[in-house]
Each structure stands twice: as structure tokens, then as C-alpha cells.
Symmetry: C2
Subunit: 498 residues, 2 copies
Amino acid sequence: MAQSPYQQLEQEFRRVHAFRTAASILRWDSAVMMPRGSSDLRGEQLAALETEAHALVTSPRVSRLLDRADANAQGLEDWQVANLREMRRERDHAIATPHNLVSRLAKATSRAEVRWLEAKQKSDFSLFAPHLEEVVNLTRNKASFLGKALNLTPYDALIDEFSPGLTTKEIDSIFTTLGRRLPGLIQDVIDGQAARPPLDLSGRITPSKQRQIAVDIMKTIGFPFDRGRIDESEHPFTGGAPGDIRITTRFIPTDPLSGLMGVLHETGHAMYDLGLPEAWRGQPVGRDRGMAVQESQSLLLEMFICRNRPFLRYLRPLLEKIGGVSGPEWEVENLYRVLTRVRRSLIRVDADEITYTMHIILRHELEKELLLGELKIKDLPEAWNSRIHDRLGVRPSNDAEGCLQDVHWAVGSFGYFPSYSIGAVIAAQLYESLRSDRPELDEEIAAGHFAGLFDWLRQNIYRHGAMLSTPELIQNATGKPLSAAAWVRYAEGKYLAD
Amino acid sequence: MAQSPYQQLEQEFRRVHAFRTAASILRWDSAVMMPRGSSDLRGEQLAALETEAHALVTSPRVSRLLDRADANAQGLEDWQVANLREMRRERDHAIATPHNLVSRLAKATSRAEVRWLEAKQKSDFSLFAPHLEEVVNLTRNKASFLGKALNLTPYDALIDEFSPGLTTKEIDSIFTTLGRRLPGLIQDVIDGQAARPPLDLSGRITPSKQRQIAVDIMKTIGFPFDRGRIDESEHPFTGGAPGDIRITTRFIPTDPLSGLMGVLHETGHAMYDLGLPEAWRGQPVGRDRGMAVQESQSLLLEMFICRNRPFLRYLRPLLEKIGGVSGPEWEVENLYRVLTRVRRSLIRVDADEITYTMHIILRHELEKELLLGELKIKDLPEAWNSRIHDRLGVRPSNDAEGCLQDVHWAVGSFGYFPSYSIGAVIAAQLYESLRSDRPELDEEIAAGHFAGLFDWLRQNIYRHGAMLSTPELIQNATGKPLSAAAWVRYAEGKYLAD
């Protein structure tokens, strides 16, 4: 029997999925396994796979099939209708930017990334400035094309690539609330914590024992080691694809909990990926709902569940039994203080969950101004330094700990930064609903029972894949529109309570 | 400036290379890293990559460009002309078999491989027979299409896939000589060795120390660890691609040298791949010259160089220093006896280099008869058992150690088996020329100096890539046509001398 246009589209996007997941495994391999000198060949492989996936999505055949499927949508199920919408969304995003601009951006970001690393190592912004300028100019063009195609403002179009359905309006409203509340909160928390500083975790746990503890917890959580792995890499990430999920972390002998916290963060991502509807796998509607929701899942597990007392009651005996450590510094209360320490610091990736948002607000402001041309490239270092000082009371002594610290802009990821903090805000709102639906949560976590937590997430987040937009998904899960309120309640409750 | 048809072809084949090497890394990953439950997704990824590479090679665009490039070949260099010939060769092979038959074969072999494993585990040929029948029938069709397209006999067309330019005529002539000489040789060697049995290597070397020894030797040989890896897998193989070569082996605590011999075998393959001309990389003419030459390189290093006294003089101190073993059984002469022991045995992959060829001659005979319909599938087990008994004096007690031991036929690899023994014959002929050109070879190897060996191989084999056919390459390197004579001299000299 001849296949319907919709069925043919499913086949095409299944092939796209095969190319993309192959590329994802190869990127994992690059970070974890590949010999250092093999990056040229890998670059050619990834370019071939990504070009092919892009060619498939933007092919005239897919566009024709989309039109024909839309015209014959009456027999389709709801998820298939949503799948068509997501296919069109992908096609629209992929086709909006002229091929020539895509190619210029790829070359410019590839050059800029190399020069960024060099500039960061030498702490010399001038080496990076002309490359950033080129990337900003090209990104501005791209945003303008995308915005026209998607009927969004240019910056919103960039955000939409990462967190579908989210707009500057919502982000600015949330960031305004947080930006107003944070300075006082940070001061209060730091003052409070100064009165009861934690004991240092001086006992060492070898990386192999840290790994054993992490794997033990992942098994308890339900990470499927027959369809996933954990390895080490310089920067922790979640790679692969559902069916073959690969998380990485870094175990440091002198910092016995940072590797574990990295594992829990990535496991939050992985559980989301693994919980996506199996029946929709390989289809656009079967994917996660973008970076803000992804980040909500990693933060929910790491920050909300695990950097919290019930989890630490469960963790402590494991640290003793497997890690072989003991003493007052390993008591639950001290672990809690260590893991919730708030500090004014310069580096985003090392920041605690309270000051982190300040780092993000700064980047969000600056990247909008750069794209609008309101801030000149040459003025970026000073703008960065003075504003981080205004916000956090610390001033970078060089650009490596200032505006050169992140790779995002070099690789053209404008509109990405907000998803970190919007993810935290989503996590707080979900956590509030979760606790209200499941009053026994703390006891369950303390007993090492994670099934209730993940059932709730499966029910309210995972199983929806990309059916709903980001705001709809949150409204649907919590009964409320996305707002900063839950995060403020959470932060105050957790950090000012004792 | 517009690209010439030839330049456009180079670009197309570069993309083919990117897809194929990506698939090669993913196959390595499947064997070494992938979680067991992830094979479905991996199957989709590999199918997408292989389909794409096949589609590129067989595209009308490539055929048009080939015709236009052939018509404008006057400005091309020699290697580019050879590259055009190899491109056409690839296209001809790929296009000869109708798409429908390719797809039926893929499905049949995929089913047959699963049933073969089951049949082998249960030692029940009847479970496998109908699937083998289907694969043989489809392969017969394929061979007939290929033969017509390439102007070869059907079986020669299959051989040409694996070892370009080699034909049944040469193989049969070589195998007739060997088949006549081997029974007496085997008897004489076994009688001679019975008089001086080796001491058992009872001392154990842990896998991690075995690995250290292997890596030490690989470094000395010149394996580039910045563009290659060694790992463990159930079946040793060489994967990846030049620029990112990945060899595997298996280290067994109770068998301290088998893992190392596996490493040396695979390093022989890897050094060939790595020595292929860099300037031709990614092009058909830049590839190796097929399976027989590949096998000659692995056997030359493992059997001819390393299972030999000069290498063992170099190895022994490493075994003592890194492996921590000592005693009379670790003396050079005893190691040599252990590593050159000849036994009449049933399993090809465990066979020594002398009886191995008997296993291959048997398979070559049987697969020709199966394809010609002279041997019925149902009669295969008895034909196998009685002929291996006639040839080697041993009789399988079940089909698992008889006609079910190899996967090759299940996956449709007919015409592959000869390349193992033709590889040994090539190795012997190269080794004879090498020793004559380089009388100091034994001293160099005993001193751990491998540069002379690999310079000779680079000069005579590696640098030619796929410029010459298999027979031309050997004629060119040794000044003689391929024949069994050097192998017989080698075997007699090595195994009957003392």
C-alpha cells in the first residue's frame, strides 16, 4: 500500500534522527575517547552528517510533503498533528537563514572559537574582538531572517531556537523580578551563612570510589546501564540519545562531591531524555522541549532534590561505606552547608544557585545590547566589569575572569544564556507543585526511593515530549503561568530559613 | 573558478569517505563502548550512513561526472587517473546489483546471522540451514549480476570485491600447490616438535601489565597514539580510519602472549592504513589494496617478524621488566616453541600458521561448490566433517566445531576466505624480498629497531595505496609474480630447520 504524505514525513525525519544521533555519539567520542590529533577527520565527519540532516529537513520533498500532509490531516491522531507542526517548525528554522549566511557563520564561529580560547588563555580581549564583531554582525543578520520567517522579533527568534515558545517579554519580566530581589537576598544569605561556616571536607575520596558512589546512586535512581554509560570528560555533558544515553563528569580527588553533583545534574538531563515517549522516538514531537526545560530537569535533581537534607541523609551512609570517610565534617548538616554555600564570585560555572542568576541576567542584558548595536564590541570588557561589580560586588582583574570566560558568544549561541535561569525558575515552580502533590517526597528521598519523584516528572513533563510549547508545558504541569514567584519562595525558604 | 568534473568527483568521494569513516567509528563503538541494549538505534544509524554512502556512489551525478572526467583526463596526474579508475570500479561494484536484491540480501543476512549464532550455540545446523540456503541463493544472483558487470566469472566477481585483481585461477593454482605440500609438512613438523615440547608459560601476567607491554611495543614500532587507540573487545579488529586508527585485542590472564600477538597482528593492519599516502586520503586510490594485502601486513608483522627469534630476544626483557616473570619457560627458545607450535585442530581462528591454510582451502572449495549448486546445503555438515578429517586428521564431534564455526557465510561474505591464505602467501613473498634487500633485519628487530622494516613496507606497499591491482603490487614489490613458492620455502625453513 502506498504511504501517506504523513507516513513519508515520519520516514524522512527518522533518517534525520539517525544522522543527528550518529553525530551526537561522535561528539561524545570526541570529548571522551578520540585521540587528540584526530579532530580534522572528525570535523569532516560531523560536517557531512550535519549537512545531510540539514539538507533532508530543507529539501523541496519535505516541503511538498508537509503541504500535502497538512491538507490531509483529518485522520491523524493528536500527537501526529503536533508532530507535523514540529516538523514545520524545524523546517522553518532551518530554511529561514540563507545558505550563504549559514556557511559564513559556520566559518566565522569556527575561527572565533579558536581565537577565543587563545584570547582567554592570554587574557587579551583584543585578540578576540574582531572575531566577536564578525559573529555578532552575522548573528544579527541571521536573527533578522529568522524573525521575519517566524514572525518574531530578532532576539525572540534566537531564543525560540533554544526554548520554543519563550519570549523576551517573559524572560525580562522574570529577570526584572529576580534582579530586584537578588541583591538583598544574596547579602542576607551571606550574612547568615557567615555565622555558621561549614567544616572543610578534608577527607579525600579517590576518583574510582567517587565513581562507585555515583554509579550506585544512578542505579537506585533508575538510570538504565544497559542503554547508557557514564564516563569522564573535561566538561560534564549529556550526550548520545534516548536508547544510548551517555553522561560524563569529572571526578576530582580533592573535591569529593563536585563530581557527584555533576553526575546528578547530568542524570537529571538523562532521565528526561529517557522518559520521552518511546512511541514518538525519532520524530520531532518526541524530542525534549528545548534548553530551558532541559535545564529545569538537571537543576531539579541536582539543586532542589540532591543539594538538600533528605537526599544527604540517604547519601551519608554511602559516603561512609563506599568512600570510607567519617567524622563531623561528613555529618548531614555540614554536607548541607558545604553544598549550599553562597559566595560572590566571578566565574559563572563555579557559582552557587543564588548568585548564578546574576551572572545570567548580566549576559542576557549584554547580548541584547550587542545585537541591537547599543553596546560596541570594544566597550564590552568595561561594561562587563562594571556591571558585575554593581550586581555582585566583585570586579574581574582580567578579561579571562570577565567577558572571556564563556565560549557561548564565540560559537554564536546568542539567546542561549537565559535558558539556564529560566530553567531554574521552571524547576522551582515544578518543585512546588511536586511537593504539594507528594507530601511524602522528603521521606522517600531520604530512604533512597526515587520512583515517586520520577513518576511525577514522567506524568507532568517527560511524556509530553514536544507536544506543548515551553509556557504551555509549565502551565499544564503546575496550573499556573511561568513566573519568578516560586523561585523566590524556594530561595528564601531554603537559604534564609536557618 | 568553476571546478573541473574531476575535482567535483574528489569532493563527492570525500563525502563518501566522511560517511564511511563515521560508520567505522560507530562500529568500533558498538564493539568496545556501546551499552548492550543500544543496538537497535545503532542499526538505524549505520543503515542511514551506509545507505547515504551507497546513494552518493551510485548517483547519476557521479556517473555523469565520471564520463565527463574521462573525456577530459589529459591534464591529470597519474594518481588522479588511477583515482578515476578506482572511482569507476567502486561505482561499477555498487551499481551492478539491483537495489531490490541488495535489500533482500541485507535482510536475509541479518536474519541468518542471528540464526547462525543460535544454531552454533545449540550446535544444530538444521536451525541455520534454511537461512544459509536463502543467503546462498541470493549471493548466487548477486555474483551473476556482478560478474556480468565486471566481465568476470561470478565467483571471481565476489573475490574482486575483497581483493581487486585476484582471480580463482591464481588462487586455485596456489591452493593446489599448498594442498599437495601441506599434509607431509604438517606431519613432519608435528613429529619434529614432539621431540622437544615447550615448557608451559605457567607464570601469569595481569591484563593491565600485558597491556603495558603491548603499548610499549606499539610505541617502539611507531604507532601514533595521538591519532590512534588500543582497547579491548571480544574479537580483535582494526577499526576507525587513517587519522583515527583504533585497534582492539583481548588480554587473557592465563594466556599471557595471545593478547600481545593479537595486538601485533592488528598493529600490522594499522601501520598499513597509517602508511597510505596522506595526499590521497579520502579518495578511492588512497585506500588499501583489499583484504589479501591487508592480511599480508598483519601476518607479516605477527607471524613472520614477531613469532620469530629476533623479536623474542627483544621481547624477553620486557616480559621480565614489565610483566615481572622469569624462569626457564620465559627463555627465548621456549617462547619460540610456544609461539610456533603446530597442532591438528578443528577451529580456524585458533589454528597455527601451518594448519591454518588447510582450513582455508576447505572453505574455498566448499563455498565454490555451494555457489555452483554442486554441494547441497543439507550435505554441508558431512562434507565439512569428512574433508577436514581427510585433510587434517581430525573430525568435529558436532557442527559448532564444524561448519557452524565461522560467521562469514551467514553474513554473505563469499569469496572472502581465500584472502587469509593468499595474504600469508603474499607475506612470505614480501618477507623473502625484504630479507634479501635488508640483510640486517634480524639484528634490527632484536634491538627493537623497526624503522628499516616499515621503511621497506612503506616504499614497496603502503605508498601505492590502490594504484596497482593486487597481483601488480606484489610483482612490483618482489620482482616476481605471486606464487606459493616463497611460502613453502618459509614454512620449511622455519618449521623443519630445527
